[in-house]
């Protein structure tokens, strides 16, 4: 697949090299340096950095402002956008705002329901869903049109991504659901955190049988476990998360002090095994409030150094 945008992530994927992305959650306040600090830790070990958009519906500094901060640092951000909080007018407007700062990657999501966050009494929007957001960005980029049909000037040049959770139910349509996103125009996928590798392999087989792996770059999502408690929490409390008993057992089987190391080990082993799966084109390392361990995971997984592709220079 030839790159269609100036996205550094797209160049790397198109070159056939495994890509590595990670994410930073913006702060719960207006301290922009918090984002910078997190990014500094991981910047040499990843190709692009996702900025989450009010994840788990907890109010935070907005993803749009945060990606601009990364861009000004010379880094390659991925703008996450959920359809929960903004209608099609606000989404298009924010996409143009991001494009005006030459943000070249977007991740189109519907978003967690607001009842999980700090404003459970809020109205939700869901004017469009994640697939329709994908279609909308592609329309703006490829046809240079607003959704309302008008022409737009200086179209956004964004590499269009989405998430995918192979572990949610009903399992039988999860590959077909990905096919729908591909039909909508998605170009890269970051999956939900993978702990159940057997099930993931089964899903990837379905994906390959449908030929989808040749139409979209799939980045396997991994999250290192910090403790046995976190493993149990993810298993029992996070909807759509599949943490097998063996993983919980393995984390519980070592002393509390050794659990972080065990978590990193499991993560690195997972990446090694995922590398062998046909159709996996890279990794998305979601180290939740644990950015300092990302470089080590990347190195131990044999994904370092990263390819030397410079981001487009950008300054105000």
């Amino acid at each position: 697949m030839n790159p269609k945008t100036p996205s550094k992530l797209e160049q790397i994927l198109a070159s056939g090299q495994l890509a590595v992305t990670s994410e930073c959650g913006p702060p719960r306040g207006s301290n922009g340096d918090a984002i910078k600090k997190k990014a500094e830790i991981i910047k040499n070990h990843v190709d692009a950095i996702n900025i989450t958009d009010n994840q788990t519906s907890v109010t935070r500094l907005c993803s749009l402002a945060a990606v601009i901060r990364l861009k000004l640092m010379g880094l390659e951000p991925i703008l996450q956008m959920v359809t929960r909080d903004r209608n099609r007018i606000a989404l298009q407007s924010d996409i143009l705002g991001a494009a005006s700062f030459d943000i070249h990657n977007i991740l189109c999501l519907s978003g967690d329901h607001q009842q999980f966050g700090d404003n459970p009494k809020a109205q939700n929007v869901f004017d469009i869903d994640s697939m329709q957001l994908i279609q909308m960005v592609r329309l703006m980029r490829d046809e240079k049109k607003f959704l309302g049909g008008d022409d737009l000037e200086r179209a956004p040049e964004m590499f269009v991504g989405a998430a995918c959770n192979p572990f949610a139910d009903p399992f039988e349509i999860r590959a077909r659901r990905l096919a729908k996103k591909v039909a909508a125009g998605v170009e890269f996928i970051q999956t939900q955190c993978i702990y159940n590798l057997d099930k993931f392999e089964l899903w990837m087989k379905q994906v390959r049988d449908m030929g989808i792996h040749e139409k979209v770059y799939i980045l396997a999502g991994v999250t290192p476990l910090k403790s046995a408690g976190m493993a149990k929490y993810m298993k029992n409390r996070v909807p759509g998360m599949d943490v097998p008993d063996e993983v919980v057992k393995r984390m519980s089987g070592v002393s509390k002090d050794d659990q972080p190391e065990e978590g990193i080990k499991i993560c690195v082993e997972s990446i090694q095994r995922l590398k062998e799966i046909e159709g996996i084109r890279g990794f998305h390392i979601m180290a939740i409030e644990w950015e300092e361990r990302v470089p080590e995971i990347v190195e131990k997984a044999g994904l370092f150094p990263r390819p030397a592709v410079a981001s487009e220079p950008f300054s105000l």
Binding site: S110, Q132, L147, A168, P170, R177, A184, G240
Partner: protein, 222 residues
């Protein structure tokens, strides 16, 4: 039908605490069927209000009436001759009935005794559930007869989100995942391939977003 439930007694007392004579009006339609505002509930609320006033050493006269429909001009006329004898009306109809009542009797204070909840039906005795949000552009023909706008907490049109677990919605284990239901039924109908069609971006102008809705049927107008 429209499903409603009674407001807490304290809230209703708060509306009428300064009155001595009220007209308590039930409705014989939906709210009777869902045991919220029919003749029986009018009688129960009337007793409860009178007892609450007595406790405060106050008196309250309550006239109990249940109309065939409060969303119908014709039936609202039935109380015209007695309305003036009371200081306020408490309506046990849905929000439509309360407003029609207020429009009909411009100089009478009208208070709601119910919270109007949704358009739905009884899944079993004592259990009512929502089925329709009146979006004005029915999609049931594309979704195996199950409404994702009503029954998916994110009103997703293109399939289950990543939080669907063992048939349940991510917001609550007691809420079935609408898309699990749709997929199951598409399968039962032998039409699972229909799932592969991308549902277009929805026109919400026929819904609440487009402003208050109205239908004018010239063929019926007098």
């Amino acid at each position: 039908m429209i499903v409603a439930e009674r407001k807490p007694l304290e809230e209703i007392i708060g509306f009428i605490k300064d009155y001595k004579k009220i007209l308590l009006v039930g409705c014989n339609e939906c709210v009777t069927v869902c045991y919220a505002g029919g003749k029986k509930e009018v009688a129960i609320l009337a007793s409860a209000l009178k007892m609450a006033f007595l406790k405060e050493e106050k008196e309250l006269e309550v006239k109990e009436v249940t109309l065939e429909r409060q969303c119908d001009q014709e039936y609202l006329e039935e109380i015209r001759s007695i309305v003036d004898q009371y200081e306020a009306i408490v309506s046990m109809a849905c929000g439509v009935g309360v407003q029609f009542m207020a429009e009909k009797y411009q100089t009478m204070p009208v208070y709601p005794a119910l919270n109007t909840l949704f358009m739905g039906g009884a899944e079993e005795m004592g259990v009512w559930a929502e089925r329709c949000q009146g979006c004005g552009q029915c999609v049931l023909g594309q979704t195996a007869g199950i409404c994702p706008i009503t029954r998916c907490a994110k009103r997703l049109l293109n399939g289950p989100c990543g939080g669907s677990t063992k048939g349940h919605c991510e917001i609550n284990k007691d809420v079935p995942c609408a898309w699990q239901l749709i997929i199951d039924r598409l399968k039962a109908l032998g039409k699972l391939d229909d799932y592969d069609n991308l549902m277009p971006i929805k026109d919400w102008s026929a819904e609440r977003s487009g402003g208050p809705r109205k239908i004018v049927r010239e063929d019926l107008r007098q």
